[in-house]
């Protein structure tokens, strides 16, 4: 079982930069760990800290005015490497929802697989979100997963978002993909016998190395 998401109302952190790649979300030098723990402290590390490790004042995560469970980022968020460490870092830091007008493919899967909800909004709605958040750091945003809507609280501004029905069920019910796959194991075995392949000669295989 994973944590469920249904409705979330929270303040949000604006990051109006486009093409934020996973090397920025978490640089490769933090990928040496063999566990998922503690990634949050290195989230956006090179934007957050200077060479001597001091917090850079101009970066939004160091601005005490801003916090919340929602990250609002520029177009094409999460491009580049497939590293799930990016999703772990965002989730460990405390984000549950990532909003952007466009996401990279692998990042979307990684976000869902860690119980986060990536929400794709229109370019216009994204600009509205940015301007409200920049004007008022206490601006709340409300996400309603059952009705698939995102709203800027205290305004009439609201948008519907798309979500794959299977992903939606997983988030609403805290379902896990691995549980699902292991539950259909006999069907997978049947598939294997039916689709016997001519591929790699695996009998030689284990002796080969």
């Amino acid at each position: 079982m994973k944590q469920k998401i249904e409705k979330i109302k929270s303040t949000a952190v604006p990051l109006p930069i486009e093409n934020i790649d996973t090397d920025q979300i978490i640089p490769a030098r933090f990928l040496k760990s063999t566990t998922k723990d503690g990634m949050g402290k290195n989230l956006f590390c090179d934007w957050r800290y200077d060479v001597s490790g001091n917090a850079k004042n101009d970066f939004v995560l160091n601005n005490s005015e801003y916090d919340g469970k929602i990250l609002v980022a520029g177009k094409n968020f999460g491009c580049g490497s497939s590293r799930e460490h990016a999703a772990w870092a965002l989730s460990d830091y405390g984000f549950k929802i990532i909003v952007s007008s466009f996401f990279a493919d692998i990042f979307i899967n990684n976000a869902y697989n860690n119980g986060m909800l990536p929400i794709q909004v229109s370019d216009d709605f994204l600009s509205l979100l940015f301007s409200h958040l920049i004007e008022n750091s206490k601006q709340e945003v409300e996400i309603d997963l059952p009705t698939q809507t995102i709203a800027i609280c205290g305004t009439m501004l609201k948008e519907k978002f798309e979500i794959n029905p299977y992903r939606k069920q997983c988030l609403l019910n805290g379902l896990d993909n691995v549980d699902y796959l292991t539950s259909i194991k006999s069907e997978i075995e049947k598939f294997e016998t039916k689709n016997e392949t001519y591929y790699v000669n695996e009998e030689d295989w284990l002796i080969a190395g």
């Binding site: 990928l31 063999t34 493919d105 990684n110 299977y166 691995v178 598939f191 001519y198």
Partner: protein, 466 residues
């Protein structure tokens, strides 16, 4: 209606559909490496599960390994732990591992094809976005996250949405000095780093079929840099020739059977793609990147674009990018001093890449101001280069000829580019800090990198070809 190559392979591997486009997809070959797998092993053990088909997973140590003195224990502690953890996990779960001492070790996307583990018509995944490389042999190959590695461990399947299909046609003859790397950088520069997001690409056209298998790998490798899940190329006689006598490829009667199957791997004439793009090879020049994503690349003879054509939010990213690189809009790149040259990575570290770079530098010496590294993609490539005397050409020119690994492509090991320094690199990503904190990457082909090392500045290789 006919089917695309992608659909033919995809349909054959769907165990069932959960919802409309969400499938349980069976995986034929799973590659793992030390960086993205440990947490998946942890999860499997924590949940008391067994690895369902250990013989379908192959492991190698590549991302985090040193590229000198590989016979010694790894001195950097965290890297050593990660590599040792991979050894422990593979042993425990009965997974074939090519570790540093093994003759087959190398960058995962170099060794897969080289060993005949990557085969046409198969589905291939790896916790690494450049898994798209394997598409060059006519496979559906794409990168996955660690949770998905866990799915493959537990069931040999993953839950995936079916991507849309994109056909990229490249026709015509390439000019002298223009390589597969330039072709793919050119395409990305035209459609941007998100231009193919949501799609799986099939590369077609005579330019593509004229490419060697290794050149095709360079093309497919960078599919992910335009956001695509992956890219593939229909197998032909070159593919079959390439697979003959490869270590783990089928042999004898099995090979004949396989060949027959592979001959059906093409998109039907009446197959419909969701999108189609056309490029003309003759318009492509040697390319260099000037910014901080692979879409920000231009012909070496062009100037950096001006920002006035961009929209408001794009302007900010563009300015940040140039600021990071310490370049100016409208500026010329030729003649810019550089500090490092890196020839390596899963994009350009195969024997043909090393041969072409060696050809350029033969009998010349690198500029005194440049540090130049050549990192072969695998032990096999390394051995081949030594056998051909290519290593000597590099060392005589003042290059360091190192041992296989990802190296300065992502700077996880000691091979980092120092802050503020410029590196002409044959790798695939010029993101901020990719090659080390503050490092400034200029992506280019192996021959462009070689000539830059000799001249000490960005140079148009076309002026130095015989």
């Amino acid at each position: 209606m006919g089917k695309t190559l992608f659909e033919k392979i995809w349909d054959k591997h769907v165990v069932r559909y959960i919802e409309n486009e969400t499938a349980v997809l069976y995986i034929d070959r799973h590659y793992i490496h030390e960086v993205t797998s440990p947490q998946a092993f942890n999860a499997i053990e924590k949940n008391g599960l067994k690895i369902f088909r250990p013989e379908k997973t192959t492991a190698t140590a590549d991302h985090n390994v040193p590229t000198v003195n590989q016979h010694l224990p790894i001195s950097e502690k965290l890297s050593r732990i990660q590599v040792e953890q991979l050894e422990i996990n593979c042993k425990k779960h009965n997974i074939q591992l090519f570790n540093l001492q093994n003759e087959h070790q190398g960058i995962v996307h170099v060794i897969g094809p080289e060993l005949g583990l990557t085969l046409p018509g198969s589905t291939i995944v790896c916790g690494d976005s450049h898994t798209s490389t394997h598409g060059a042999l006519g496979a559906i190959a794409f990168g996955i996250g660690t949770s998905e590695i866990e799915q493959v461990f537990a069931s040999q399947c993953i839950i995936q949405n079916k991507p849309k299909t994109l056909k990229i046609n490249v026709t015509g003859k390439l000019q002298k000095g223009v390589t597969a790397k330039d072709v793919i950088l050119y395409i990305i520069s035209k459609i941007s780093t998100s231009g193919a997001t949501g799609y799986f690409i099939e590369y077609c056209g005579e330019t593509i079929s004229n490419f060697s298998m290794e050149e095709r790998m360079t093309i497919c490798n960078m599919s992910i840099e335009m956001g695509a899940r992956g890219g593939l190329i229909s197998p032909d006689s070159k593919t079959i020739e390439y697979l003959k006598n490869k270590k783990f490829a089928p042999t004898g009667y099995d090979f004949e059977l396989a060949k027959e199957n592979w001959s059906n791997l093409f998109s039907d004439a009446d197959a419909k793609f969701d999108r189609e793009l056309f490029f003309s090879a003759s318009e492509i020049s040697p390319m260099v990147s000037y910014g901080t994503n692979p879409g920000m690349a231009i012909s070496v003879s062009e100037n950096i674009p001006l920002s006035n054509s961009l929209s408001g939010s794009e302007k900010i990213s563009f300015a940040n990018s140039l600021n990071y690189m310490n370049f100016y809009e409208g500026e010329k790149l030729v003649g810019k001093k550089i500090d490092y040259v890196f020839i390596g990575s899963c994009t350009n570290s195969r024997i043909e890449d090393l041969r072409s770079a060696a050809e350029i530098i033969k009998g010349k010496a690198k500029s005194a101001n440049v540090i130049a590294w050549v990192v072969p993609g695998s032990k096999k490539v390394e051995q081949q280069a030594i056998a051909e005397g290519i290593d000597k050409i590099f060392t005589a020119a003042g290059f360091e000829f190192r041992q296989p690994g990802c190296s300065a492509c992502l700077g996880m090991n000691e091979d980092k580019i120092p802050e503020g320094k410029y590196c002409v690199s044959t790798s695939n990503r010029n993101f901020e800090g990719r090659q080390g904190k503050g490092a400034r990457t200029i992506l280019a082909s192996p021959i462009m990198a070689a000539i830059a090392a000799i001249k000490g500045e960005i140079t148009d290789v076309r002026n130095y070809l015989n």
